[in-house]
């Protein structure tokens, strides 16, 4: 008699994911309504900056932040389904605008906290120019999925601006997000990639390879917007963090990681 182990494993194998499990756990413990705590939903590309912002903010104010990281699309979906976040730091302006249109935020709290910089990158050192994209022996160029990620859309604009759209067709490999596009290049599977400048700058000095920063004229600025969510209108820690994010201390930290600030 066949014991059917594959069937059972099919059923058991968890597909819900950690985020879902944690959400379920959070639902068991309703918010304690303490005014000095805030939960920040952060787009993955901003994670390293957020870590430093969190440290500085907490030592300056004594408030306590909890940071939840995910892709902008997934965080947005969680928010409209009632996820217990106070602030949303998105990687684009489309999702925050959408939340604003759906009256999910405290009016007037949507603002651009960082402007992403795109760069063409390869791990080997030396010089790199846009001509590298036209090399006939080039096999793969990694970009973030333009349908999902602003950095991907920006990369597509740059490629079009250089007149290389036709030439690069079939050579473009698309990561689900900018992190995956970066991994494709870092692991040597794609020779070149359009990644975030902040990713390259987060590498050690010796690992930064070669890069070419496309002029801002070639692509729409990658505005990353923040919003204070409606349920948190009276959360003091959340309001304090919004004020902090607009201030000069935060801006200095943010530009240190390869972002522009408004």
């Amino acid at each position: 008699m066949w014991r059917k182990p594959p069937f059972q494993s099919c059923v058991i194998k968890p597909r819900i994911g950690l985020a879902g499990a944690m959400l379920a756990l959070l639902a068991l413990f309703p918010a304690q309504a303490q005014a000095d705590e805030a939960t920040i939903a952060v787009a993955s590309n901003f994670r390293p900056v957020m870590a430093e912002l969190e440290t500085v903010f907490e030592s300056q104010t004594g408030h306590d932040l909890t940071v939840s990281v995910g892709s902008t699309g997934k965080l947005y979906t969680q928010i409209i389904h009632g996820a217990p976040y106070d602030i949303f730091l998105a990687a684009d302006e489309a999702r925050p605008k959408r939340l604003e249109a759906e009256s999910q935020i405290v009016p007037g709290t949507r603002f651009t906290y960082a402007i992403g910089q795109l760069t063409l990158w390869r791990p080997e050192g030396g010089e790199i120019s846009p001509e590298a994209l036209a090399a006939p022996d080039l096999r793969h160029v990694a970009i973030a999925n333009p349908e999902l990620a602003p950095y991907g859309a920006a990369a597509t604009e740059v490629i079009a601006g250089l007149g290389l759209t036709g030439q690069l067709e079939g050579k473009l490999v698309r990561g689900e997000n900018i992190g995956q596009a970066f991994a494709f290049v870092k692991t040597g599977n794609a020779e070149l990639g359009f990644v975030a400048l902040s990713q390259v700058l987060s590498l050690e000095d010796g690992e930064r390879g070669a890069r070419w920063d496309p002029p801002q004229t070639l692509y729409t600025p990658i505005r990353q917007d923040a919003v204070l969510l409606k349920r948190s209108a009276d959360n003091e820690a959340a309001q304090a963090f919004i004020a902090f994010l607009r201030g000069d201390d935060a801006k200095a930290i943010i530009s240190g990681y390869g972002y522009d600030t408004p």
Partner: protein
């Protein structure tokens, strides 16, 4: 269904069929060897075969991303032979799927061979059948149910593959953009209508495939001895 998703559906079916075919060629001798061997290494091999059942697909995908890159021994060998990289290619997805679905082919076959195989083979040997001849005329027909289960499960499991493809595929239309990736992209992009259509197709297809296994197993029950 929107037309742009048709290639994804077709690609998924091609991937599942190719994977199942290759698994049949690789899994049959492996399962037979596992069912008949007396080596002490057997538990080790069995554990290795079962690994994809418990490992998150992302672990396999991550290792493959490293192993497939054009500077690695495997990746560079493949590139020099075929002129194409293993990552971001259909061939790479097939190899990944073969590893990923290996237990779904090997385990049902091994069980079937263990149940019906050895005594029948010994009988055939006593009638002076050559081992290979005996295998094809005695052991394989005896394990027909195991084969149906293994084939259908491998096929269905590959249909639903996601994590590994996400890691090594690169989401290239008509090459590596399978149906599960397309659904994922639609959901992230808030295109719920397209996601619904594709999900319903996958759900229906998977149910029919599984229904086939259970109906078949009912019609040809195994008499345990």
């Amino acid at each position: 269904m929107t037309l742009p998703d048709l290639p994804a559906l077709w690609l998924t079916l091609r991937l599942a069929l190719t994977t199942t075919g290759l698994l049949l060629l690789i899994g049959t001798p492996l399962a037979w060897w596992l069912a008949t061997t007396r080596t002490r290494a057997k538990p080790v091999i069995e554990a290795l075969v079962a690994l994809p059942l418990v490992l998150p697909p992302t672990v396999l995908g991550f290792y493959l991303l490293i192993a497939f890159n054009p500077d690695s021994p495997i990746g560079s060998f493949w590139l020099s032979v075929t002129g194409d990289t293993l990552t971001f290619s259909f061939a790479g997805l097939v190899i990944a799927s073969v590893i990923y679905s290996l237990p779904f082919m090997v385990q049902p076959l091994q069980t079937a061979f263990e149940t019906t195989g050895r005594s029948a083979m010994e009988l055939a040997a006593s009638l002076r059948a050559a081992p290979l001849d005996a295998f094809f005329t005695v052991a394989m027909p005896g394990a027909a149910r195991g084969f149906v289960t293994a084939i259908v499960l491998s096929f269905a499991h590959t249909l639903g593959e996601f994590g590994v493809v996400l890691m090594v595929g690169g989401n290239i239309p008509e090459r590596t953009r399978v149906i599960s990736i397309a659904i994922y992209e639609h959901v992230d992009n808030l295109a719920y209508a397209e996601a619904h259509t594709l999900s319903a197709i996958l759900l229906g297809l998977s149910f029919i495939v599984l229904l086939f296994v259970y109906a078949f197993n009912r019609r040809f029950p195994v008499h345990a001895h």
